[in-house]
Amino acid sequence: MIPTSYYLALSVILFAIGVAGVLLRRNAIILFMAIELMLNSANLVFVAYSRQFGALDGQILVFFVMTVAAAEVAVGLALIVTIFRSKASIDVDDISMLKG
């Protein structure tokens, strides 16, 4: 069996790539995808530890994280569409005014 720490290492790398996406890219949609990637890497840790401790609670938490991610995407993409309608851009640097 693959040791849990291997999965943790993989998850750390994926998380770091997600952080890099948020810090380096300015496209709101890509930024959003990077956040999804980070959530996903956290899920991997949950499932890996769930196996290590032989308890299903980790998997249940993944279930909840997925629900939250789905809700977040629905609202987030709606926000992006609304912003695009008023500014014709989804660059987060352009969204610097409080008044649309």
Partner: protein
């Protein structure tokens, strides 16, 4: 106790694909390709869930992430025609090197913690319990121990649904347009 060779090879190949897909998402200039790379990544992670004895979560992962969330992303990108937005950032010059330093720092600290833990597979409980990760085991836990959080997520989803409808609602948009015309 080290893993046997075929398992390790499978793990490494999948891990390389996952990391490559994530990097592809990060580097791709076309948002559609970014989304597709992310789908590949999610698919690989679903395979990891299968390897970890979580078939239910793996299927949910494919259905929710690959089937719903990423399709929504693709839909919005295509709808806005936003696949090739220019990077117009000019006011963030010194932050970029700083962010790279921070990412390297994050990686090294996390690796220090993870590797400091040592190599452990965990208990053999999983082999003993035959129903581990099965839909019925998950369901039992979800509807007994985690009933309240489960009900709470339904409210969360409802709120998100209402939010999305309100934000992109047609009527509101029209009113705003009318208002801006008056100005």
């Amino acid at each position: 106790m080290l893993p046997n060779i075929p398992e390790l090879v499978i793990f490494l190949v999948l891990a390389v694909i996952a990391v490559a897909a994530a990097l592809g998402m990060l580097a791709s200039s076309n948002a559609i390709y970014s989304a597709l790379f992310l789908v590949v990544n999610f698919g690989v992670v679903a395979t990891f869930y299968l390897l970890l004895g979580a078939p239910f979560i793996a299927m949910a992962q494919v259905t929710v992430y690959a089937g719903a969330i990423m399709v929504l992303f693709l839909f919005v990108i295509m709808l806005l025609g936003a696949e090739k937005m220019k990077q117009t950032s000019h006011n963030l010059l010194w932050q970029k090197p700083l962010s790279i330093v921070l990412i390297v720092l994050l990686l090294s600290i996390s690796f220090y913690v993870v590797l400091g833990q040592g190599v452990s597979v965990g208990s053999d409980l999983m082999q003993n319990a035959s129903g581990y990760g099965s839909p019925s085991a998950i369901g039992t836990l979800l509807f007994q121990k985690y009933l309240f959080p489960f009900e709470a997520t339904s409210i969360l989803l409802l709120a998100a649904m209402v939010g999305a409808v309100v934000l992109t609602g047609v009527r509101r948009q029209r009113r705003r347009i009318r208002k801006s015309r008056r100005l």
